[in-house]
Symmetry: C2
Subunit: 141 residues, 2 copies
DNA sequence: GTGTTTGCAAAGTGTTTGCAATTTA
DNA sequence: TAAATTGCAAACACTTTGCAAACAC
C-alpha cells in the first residue's frame, strides 16, 4: 500500500474548517495543511508565510495573520508569548508547557504531565483561571 | 520620630547606580526613585515615562527605554513577557511568579513558595536553565 | 577636558486595518 | 447574486538608533 499520509484527502481539513464556520478557501487549505499535518509545530506568522510560499501557494502576509487568529479563536491553535515582539502559534492545543531556547528562539514541548504546578493560590475574587503557562528559559548550547 | 521613608537620602540610590557602573544623572535618579522606592512594581516603559513626567522631571521616552535596559542588564529589574507587543519590568528580582489579569493587563505577584513547579525535564544536552516563568492567566472580573 | 549620557527625530519591526477586487456557496 | 475572503498599501504601536548638544567627573 502507498503512503497513507500522502494520499490523504483534503476532506478532513475541509470539515475542520467548516466546523469552525470558515470557508475552505485555497489559502486556508494550504495553511491548514502545513499547520495540521506536520505534527506539533511552533510557528510565527512570518515562518508560516515563508512556508506556504515555498509550497508555491500565493498567500499574503495579511491573510496569514487573519487566518492564524481565526484558527486561534476557534481553538485549533494556541498563541504562545515568550518574546515581546513576536507571537508563536502552537498546533498542540492540549495541556503542556515549553522550553524556550534563547539562542535560536525556538520552542520545544514539555508534555503536560512532565511538569507539575501545584498550590496555585486562589484567584482574586470571582475570577477564573484561563490558563497556566510555564516557560522554561534555556540559555545557548 | 519622623517618617524615615520621606527623609531617606538619595545616597543609597546613588550607590546602587555607581555599583552598576552608571552615573547618577538627574534622569536615572528620578527613574530609580520611582522604581525602587515604591515597593514591588510592574511597569511598562510608557507607564514609567508618564510617571516621571507627572513628578515634573523631564525625561525622554528613549532615555526611559535605555535606562530600563541598563537596570535589567545589571540585575536591578527583571523583564516579564505576557503580551506580545509590550514589555513589563518587575522591580522584584527574587524568585516568584505572576497572575496576569487579561482585562486590565495588570500583573500581580505570586510569592515564590506559593507555586511549586516540579519535575522539570532534563534540558537538552549541555544547556542551562536560565529561569522558569509561570504565568497564571486570569479572565475578567 | 574627556568620556558618558541625553533628547530628538528618524528608522525599524511585527502586526492590524480599510477597502476594492475576487472568490465561494 | 449575496456574503465572505483576499491582497495591497497605508496605518499602527512599541521599540531602537544615529548623532549633536548637554552633562558628570
Amino acid at each position: 500500500m502507498g503512503n497513507m499520509t500522502k494520499i490523504r484527502p483534503y476532506s478532513h481539513i475541509i470539515d475542520r474548517l467548516r466546523d469552525a464556520g470558515l470557508r475552505p478557501t485555497r489559502q486556508r487549505l494550504a495553511l491548514a495543511k502545513i499547520l495540521f499535518e506536520g505534527g506539533d509545530r511552533h510557528l510565527t506568522a512570518e515562518m508560516l508565510h515563508a512556508e506556504v510560499l515555498s509550497a508555491n501557494v500565493r498567500v499574503s502576509l495579511a491573510t496569514v495573520y487573519n487566518t492564524l487568529h481565526q484558527f486561534t479563536s476557534s481553538g485549533m491553535l494556541r498563541e504562545i508569548v515568550v518574546d515581546a515582539s513576536r507571537s508563536y502559534f502552537d498546533t498542540n492545543t492540549t495541556e503542556h508547557h515549553h522550553f524556550f531556547m534563547e539562542g535560536s528562539g525556538s520552542l520545544v514541548d514539555i508534555p503536560g504531565g512532565d511538569i507539575v504546578v501545584s498550590k496555585v493560590p486562589q484567584v482574586p475574587e470571582g475570577r477564573e483561571v484561563k490558563r497556566v503557562d510555564v516557560i522554561v528559559r534555556v540559555g545557548d548550547a
